[in-house]
Amino acid sequence: MENTETKLTKKDLRKTFFRYYTFCELGSNYERMQAVPFAASISYCLEKLYKTKKDRLDAMHRQLQFFNTEGTFGSMIMGATVSMEEQKANGMPIPSETITGLKTGLMGPVAGIGDTLIWGTFKTIIGSLAVTLALQGNYLSSLIEMLFPIVTYVIAYNLFFSGYNLGTKSIKDIMKGGLLNQLIDASSAMGLFMMGALSSSYVTFKLITKIKMPHSDPIVLQKVLDDIVPGLLPLLTIFAIYFYLKKKQNYIAVVLAVLVLSLIGAYFGIL
């Protein structure tokens, strides 16, 4: 019997990963988010795996469905999807819906992990170290900034290959498993602690208005506030924005509101 099995080579996988991580937002749009970059990356594999026009079209349309996640941890989904396509092309009875289902099922939880670990915690810590150094006039700050892309690239590369090698079942096991949850749990704790520390360092919101008193020194409002709780205004602002965003995710409105309020405050000499 003729051996018709088509295997992907390490080179195909590397090309797929490289395009995915380099261009994982290039062509993303509000209708299907990262569908185009995802399909463009996996196209190297589809081209090799499927020979007939019908199979290729099916595969391309399948990979052009809605997809949106965090890129670094999303590499794991990319790896797993590649391995499923390879199995399907080699005769495993995997329906299209299973592949789409895997992608859409994983993208939410994976984005949650990636946004917390990579962006919320790691990026913010790197940024604050770099800024601290830069404020002292230290040029090493730019190198510190570059640690962020370098480290995340290495993480993504490894996640892509473990996604490919372990397959879908193991990914679900890892996601439910203890170690990753412990890691997320611990870094959420560190993340929240750091957010508190950094917002105290970097959010400045002070009243400069004074209330004139007829027979004594004027009352400095900010000093009164500081005597109650220092940092009250920054804290209230953060949580006001937090609760607004929970209701309505209109970020531009927040930026504009801050700008307008600051200008009004400055005009009347309050802020």
Partner: protein
């Protein structure tokens, strides 16, 4: 004069790289204000000032993250436009921050525009693959249309702003009322709150919220640097990590007994 053309070109290209989100996490840092401050400062012969202005601008966007790919404000565009103009006109770093704020807002809107225009491209792409039936088509499309969109929405704006900015800003800076400049500075102080609010809502673990307040008041009362705070934060994280592990092991041992 020629130097300004060079600076405007480099800034435009860096913003193009960042705006097309080249290299994913790399795109975030290539236009981070600290890096841009150093690069532009070196080109304009004043890296020290560049770095300091960059640091001031980056303070604003430090907690800013992009859940679901939404960009609330683009710190990169703010840096790429405000830093060269500030160095050229000898603007005070605080004023440079104010100058950057409107560009940060515009930058956020440009990301929305880009993702809207790319919808049309997607439909075009689907027609194209139905015709060709070749997976290569998707890559060919990706290498052209979204790249072009990203370029047109980034390079011209930055190039023109950096090239003409200094003379425009130089001319009007003295006419801008003091309260507007001050108002922008105030906004620059408050705006990081948006970044931190987003980061908190993404990380959100109710049981660890007390740690947010612990971090906040540790700095308020004891004035610890961010570097110091991250050491405390890492200790807490390691403690929790090890403790969770041992408690799970403990449970397992109990079950087997």
């Amino acid at each position: 004069m020629n130097n300004l053309v060079l600076v405007a070109t480099v800034c435009g290209l860096l913003q193009f790289l960042s705006f097309s989100e080249f290299g994913y996490t790399f795109s975030e840092k290539i236009t981070s204000a600290v890096v841009i401050g150093t690069i532009v400062g070196l080109m304009m012969g004043d890296p020290k000032t560049g770095l300091l202005i960059g640091a001031q601008i980056e303070l604003l966007y430090i907690g800013m993250i992009y859940p679901g790919g939404i960009v609330p404000a683009d710190g990169g565009l703010a840096a790429v436009v405000a830093i060269p103009i500030a160095i050229k006109t000898g603007l005070d770093p605080k004023a440079a921050v104010s100058l950057g704020i409107p560009f940060g807002i515009i930058g956020g809107l440009l990301y929305e525009l880009k993702k809207t225009i790319n919808i049309f491209g997607l439909h075009k792409l689907e027609d194209m693959i139905n015709k060709s039936g070749d997976p290569k088509t998707i890559r060919k499309y990706q290498d052209v249309f979204p790249v072009l969109v990203a370029f047109l929405l980034s390079f011209p704006l930055v190039f023109l702003s950096v090239y003409f900015g200094p003379s425009v800003v130089g001319a009007i800076i003295s006419d801008i009322p003091q309260w507007i400049m001050h108002g922008m500075e105030v906004a620059g102080g408050i705006l990081p709150a948006l970044g931190f609010a987003i980061a908190v809502s993404v990380i959100m673990k109710r049981k660890y919220m007390p740690l947010f307040f612990a971090g906040f008041f540790l700095v308020e009362y004891f004035k610890i640097t961010p570097m110091g705070a991250s050491i405390f934060g890492a200790c807490i994280a390691v403690y929790l990590f090890m403790n969770n592990k041992s408690s799970k092991k403990g449970k397992k041992e109990e079950q087997t007994n």
